[in-house]
């Protein structure tokens, strides 16, 4: 096998895949824009957008840096609660509430990350989970602010005002496109981060920590910053969830919410740009369709998950991408 014959053929056949990779934001955004046209229930489509964004943020840490957090519910939940509290208790407009939700999640990520980031592997997963449980009880106890076990009610956003235009947020399709606009902005941000010099550092730390350190990179700082950035995306998803549901249930902070995003990422394909989104979509579609004929929908989703992990370890989207490679 000589390289001279191999090289040109491989460049020719990968070129369109490279092209797709270069325009991943455009492709992902295009998909998001046409998605409700093929979905029977728009409310479910909004849910897929929100959890897709949550998984996207989680994947920045899990897939790209290689750190498994079991406490991302705290970041998602903080985004939702802060956004909700800003609207319910302070009467702030929706955009300010979203911004505060993201800032709140960034602060929570800095706190949890700052405490957990020096541990690794299973210890990191356990410490993040324990800290997320602390956040759960904190929000659970602060009944005056959060409604405790009844959840935070009364997040009623009827209209979205932007540049002098008024959108009816009650209309499902309008609501979808408002959320989609935020998700597309997040696609753009995430893609920039991945393509940036810091994105290269993230890859280097994932590939070989000792080498990255010897090359002059502060591995702990890199992990912490990535954790916080990941928290920002998850917080945005949480804030959108609060607006969409009109309520923040306390279950949003439950460790099931942390575990679910791990499943979604694995199902779709960790470390791929769009995989987590696919994973969230498949997960929620299965949940909704299967629960129509049996209450034991988790059994079916679990079986699909196990089959995926066993037979498609790269995930659904990851396997598809690998198939398309020559």
């Amino acid at each position: 096998m000589s390289e001279i014959t191999m090289a040109p053929s491989s460049t020719a056949s990968t070129s369109w895949l490279d092209l797709a990779r270069r325009h991943r934001v455009l492709l992902a955004s295009g998909f998001v824009l046409v998605f409700p046209l093929v979905m029977p229930f728009t409310a479910l489509a909004v849910n897929i957008l929100i959890y897709g964004l949550y998984a996207l943020g989680f994947n920045l840490l899990f897939g790209y840096l290689g750190l498994l957090s079991f406490g991302h519910a705290a970041l998602f939940g903080t985004g939702a609660y802060v956004c909700g509290i800003a609207i319910v208790h302070f009467g702030l407009p929706w955009y300010a509430a979203i911004v505060l939700g993201v800032l709140g999640a960034l602060a929570m990520a800095a706190l949890i990350g700052g405490l957990a980031i020096r541990t690794r592997g299973i210890y990191f997963a356990m410490v993040t989970m324990a800290l997320a449980q602390c956040a759960y009880y904190l929000f659970y106890q602060a009944v005056g602010w959060t409604g405790g076990e009844n959840g935070l009610r009364g997040i009623n956003v009827r209209n979205i005002n932007l540049f002098g235009l008024t959108f009816d947020f009650i209309n499902p399709l309008t609501r979808y496109y408002v959320v989609a606009a935020c998700v597309i902005a997040a696609f753009f941000m995430l893609s920039r981060i991945l393509a940036s010099p810091f994105g290269a550092v993230i890859e280097a730390v994932r590939e070989n920590e000792a080498r990255a350190r010897a090359s002059g990179y502060n591995v702990v700082a890199t992990r912490l910053i990535t954790f916080i950035l990941s928290g920002g995306f998850c917080g945005l998803a949480g804030a959108l969830a609060a607006l969409h549901l009109s309520i923040v249930p306390i279950e949003i902070l439950h460790y099931e919410t942390s575990g679910m995003v791990v499943m979604m990422s694995l199902l779709g394909g960790m470390g791929t740009f769009f995989g987590p989104f696919v994973g969230a979509g498949v997960f929620l579609l299965l949940e909704n369709l299967v629960s129509l004929w049996t209450v034991h929908w988790q059994l079916v989703v679990g079986a699909v998950f196990v089959a995926c992990v066993l037979f498609f370890p790269a995930g659904i989207w990851g396997t598809l991408l690998n198939r398309m490679k020559p």
């Binding site: 940036s196 010099p197 994105g199 290269a200 280097a204 000792a210 010897a214 090359s215 002059g216």
Partner: protein, 253 residues
């Protein structure tokens, strides 16, 4: 470069390192001269790798101090070493396996330009790819640039690691058994490469195989049971009675 640059680049003063009750290194005081190749040799278990790890900042000594260019670096975190001008290659190949050969070196170069920029495209950092390609040409990997690093042959991976160490443009290059696991042909290529690089910088080399380094080193340090047994020119070390007894008397492996 100033004319009065001190001739000692690195100094260890009474450094010891113990792991639990085991004393791996005992009270080693040594100086390393600028611009020469110094080899640290010794039989298995002599404490060579422990000493190397102290010099490269992988861990701090239990006692004593390490100075680089007169500055105390004993407790400096590892990632600061690269920025002082100390680069190393590991005993076990240490590369970024899933990245391309070029990206391996480019990331090494990037550490001195941009570490926390999350917004600009990395392609906009000027000159990094060109400099990476130049370094790859220097270590003989110009034809392998687009390959994933994990697909290279063992000797090529070692050469890549040297290229990555050179990306730091180091004043001091630390190499831990750079020919470990290499074929005789690969070993010869690597030795030529080390000699070529040494013209421009200080090299400290840890090596198990004594014969290999005698020809290329100006200075040799012999460690035995965690102690500094002898140091001097290769000729002096070869004449040293103690060294003959503990090292040369044994069959070369």
């Amino acid at each position: 470069m100033s004319v009065s640059e001190p001739s000692v680049i690195l100094r260890t003063t009474e450094v010891s390192k113990s792991f639990g009750k085991f004393l791996a290194l005992n009270n080693i005081t040594a100086e390393f001269e600028r611009g020469v190749i110094t080899s640290i040799i010794g039989p298995n278990g002599a404490g060579k790798s422990t000493y190397f790890n102290l010099l490269s900042g992988a861990f701090a000594p239990s006692r004593g101090r390490v100075e680089f260019e007169g500055r105390d670096v004993t407790h400096l975190p590892q990632h600061r070493f690269a920025h002082l001008g100390i680069a190393k290659s590991f005993q076990i190949t240490n590369i970024f396996p899933q990245l391309t050969v070029r990206e391996n070196v480019r990331v090494g170069l990037q550490a001195f330009v941009s570490r926390y920029d999350i917004w600009r495209p990395r392609a906009s950092l000027p000159g990094l790819v060109e400099r990476a390609d130049a370094l790859l040409a220097m270590v003989g990997l110009q034809d392998r640039r687009e390959r994933r690093a994990c697909d290279l042959a063992h000797g090529e991976q070692r050469a890549l690691e040297i290229g990555m160490a050179l990306a730091a443009n180091p004043k001091l290059l630390l190499l831990d058994e750079p020919t470990a696991g290499m074929s005789p042909e690969e070993t010869r290529v690597m030795m030529d490469l080390i000699v070529k690089l040494a013209g421009e910088r200080t090299v400290i080399l840890v090596e198990h195989k004594m014969k290999l380094v005698m020809g290329i080193s100006q200075r040799v340090m012999v460690l035995h049971h965690g102690e500094l047994l002898a140091q001097g020119t290769p000729a002096e070390v070869r004449q040293n009675e103690q060294v003959k007894r503990v090292y040369l008397g044994q069959r070369e492996h």
